[in-house]
Symmetry: C2
Subunit: 407 residues, 2 copies
């Protein structure tokens, strides 16, 4: 497997286009269209929030139907959640406009939205946007990059990546983009993520690989503990690489799954580090827990704690907060078994050893915590369970961004 | 039942004293001693965090032992959590100093601490403080008030209240004080709360009344989602009112329980409204849920959401965030059944009606949300379950207070 250039248009047969539809944002692109003329085997994971946006319900139907997917139309600015019947009609009209314009079967184009909840989409603007984008779809690297920018809301950087690998004697490429900055506490997947590949693979295996990988990547990040109504991760596989179709869990499946993990981990970490108002990526690495499930719960609890996040922002090695967050994670353990370290590019520092706080150099601790990624590493000393989770610091800017997000 | 003056020294036989022991804070009182010469029937609820502070474990032993309790020594500044063996010894030494000085049996004085986790208490200062306070215990109203001030950390106001009632032909008084501003997401009780009463009651009934009332009061508040290592709520009943001992759940028990509810609700709401950095009390009132448990989960999820809290700070009627928080609460419901209102002293405003967002006057919404208490009222329209929960807004000052709390 090797890193290649670009994102969603890196695999064969995937095109993208963007437009400025003026949905809520001014003077920037706010719609993206990702399209494959060849119908794609598809899989997806969606928010566990019982209040699901109209587009989530629209996409869940397509993914479960078994129909080949031809693409997805995404808009930023308005989430199309809590919008009743009118919201569903907006999905249908948008998809239909694309399906008719590009002459593909009905109900094969997904839709995804992100932005303010409880506001109706301006359907005429969406239709006009679809028509405009349908005429300028491109498989260039730049088209993929532009798509990753158009779907941003409060994100400060666009998120895209791609890798290639050898499967069945041919080169297979996997690309992806995602957005997400606030309302990030995924519990099935995360905000919006779109993955493309020219791999040939059976649908059930594609879904299994995606669901497995999501558990260790997108489901292990949190910005603010709020699980969105719109979380959507879609993968489309058009088979154009020409590899023998993957229909069992052999070596080819594992090669692909590793590539999928690489892409998802990269996008998830980038999303966490670009959390609303964030200045840092905040990683929890739990080692030696009784089980992997325990390690995951502990790691997620650490990076989800407001107090831990505020300490990370302040470069304050207030390790008690991390132990406190572990203590209410639902996992049972003895503090007398625990060792806790802070770690970054500047070095590492042990601050708690088997129930006893250690004296440490505050100046060194501050220096260590001033890096762009700060890792809290915890040794539970009670088993083999290991997990990582990713979040960000809690800053003034998080409050600023969210105190008046709609205006 | 009627409101009376004072706090923990309002009931007969309870004395208090404070001192400036210089534990971490400078130029302010940081220790309080609450004492009853008559041994007290006692009950308590404690943090569910598996990382329990040394003092929590100390108090749990006394409460479960059945021994009469004579008082509690409280310090602010250092939490005595994650402090190993040395932390336990600090509890023992502190209690023993008080027990010997006042000539009461060993292991009958509780201890409680609040402040930085993972730092050892200066035992000599604590002992000196206990000696000083033992010599100046007073049953004056002022002594109770001073105690409620000495236990504050980042609190901006002290919290105390008292009520009296007629039970068995005599006047019974119940007083209380509490502190808590950050790391507030109780799950058994809350930060530190101390209740005193001259009621005569059996231990098991006192515990049952306290545990019941806590579920609807202290367990329904959240400031930041962080369940502390130190949450402690103690009640001491010395029987000096002279009522016939309450030993069954009759009318007398109900009168007392109502008074207990009143005191706990007041302290809990005051604590939520004085959350770290808070400018407002943020109340969620859920009506018509399938069950009370559902109503509680929904209400707690609303007031715990960072995004909801930031919207409350910004006086932004961004109601989608409240629906989103309900959606990930773990409660199953249909958004098509839901009605959502904002309510305050300035009036009320319906913004969501059975799955459909309503147009509303933004100016009026902002005015309504600028009051000192903002209520989000939700009608689920699917049953009789009702609950309230209390939190506060998320502000710049919360981040400021917590980014460098230790210095």
């Amino acid at each position: 497997m090797k890193k290649t250039e670009g994102g969603v248009t890196a695999p064969k047969g995937f095109k993208a286009a963007v437009c400025a539809a003026n949905i809520k944002y001014k003077d920037r692109t706010d719609m993206a269209f990702l399209f494959s003329e060849t119908p794609c085997v598809c899989a997806g994971t969606f928010t566990s929030n019982v209040v699901k946006a109209a587009c989530v319900q629209w996409d869940m139907e397509i993914v479960s139907s078994g129909r080949g997917m031809h693409g997805v139309v995404v808009n930023s600015g308005i989430a199309n959640a809590c919008t009743g019947e009118e919201g569903f009609r907006a999905c249908e009209i948008t998809a239909k406009a694309a399906e008719e314009k590009l002459n593909v079967p009905y109900n094969t184009i997904a839709t995804a939205s992100t932005g303010v909840i409880g506001m109706q989409l301006p359907v005429d603007k969406l239709k006009a946007g679809v028509y405009e984008m349908s005429g300028k779809l491109s498989d260039s690297k730049e088209a993929g990059t532009e798509a990753s920018k158009a779907i941003m809301t409060t994100d400060t950087v666009n998120k895209e990546t791609a890798v290639s690998m050898e499967i069945g004697g041919v080169t297979v490429t996997l690309g992806g983009m995602s957005k997400g900055s606030g309302m990030i506490h995924p519990n099935m997947c995360t905000m919006l993520g779109f993955l493309t590949t020219d791999l040939a693979i059976e649908k059930a295996l594609l879904q299994e690989a995606l669901s497995d990988v999501v558990k260790d990547t997108f489901n292990m990040i949190s910005v603010d503990g709020d699980t969105s109504t719109n979380d959507t991760l879609l993968i489309m596989a058009n088979g154009l690489a020409g590899n023998p179709v993957i229909d069992t869990k052999g070596e080819d499946y594992e090669i692909f799954k590793e590539a999928l993990y690489t892409i998802c981990r990269y996008l998830a970490r980038t999303m966490a580090g670009d959390g609303e108002g964030a200045t840092k990526l905040f990683t929890a690495h739990v080692i030696g827990a009784k089980t992997v499930a325990d390690a995951k719960a502990l790691a997620r609890s650490i990076i989800s704690s407001n107090l831990s996040k505020a300490a990370i922002y302040g470069c304050d090695a207030n390790f008690g907060r991390f132990l406190c967050a572990m203590g209410y994670s639902g996992v049972n353990f003895n503090q007398e078994d625990v060792e806790l370290f802070f770690e970054s590019e500047a070095g590492e520092l042990k601050v708690f050893d088997h129930g006893v706080p250690l004296a440490f150099d505050e100046e060194y601790a501050t220096k260590l915590m001033s890096e762009k990624e700060v890792i809290v590493r915890v040794h539970m000393n009670e088993g083999d369970g290991e997990a990582e989770a990713w979040g960000c610091d809690l800053t003034y800017d998080y409050v600023k961004i969210n105190a008046d997000y709609r205006s």
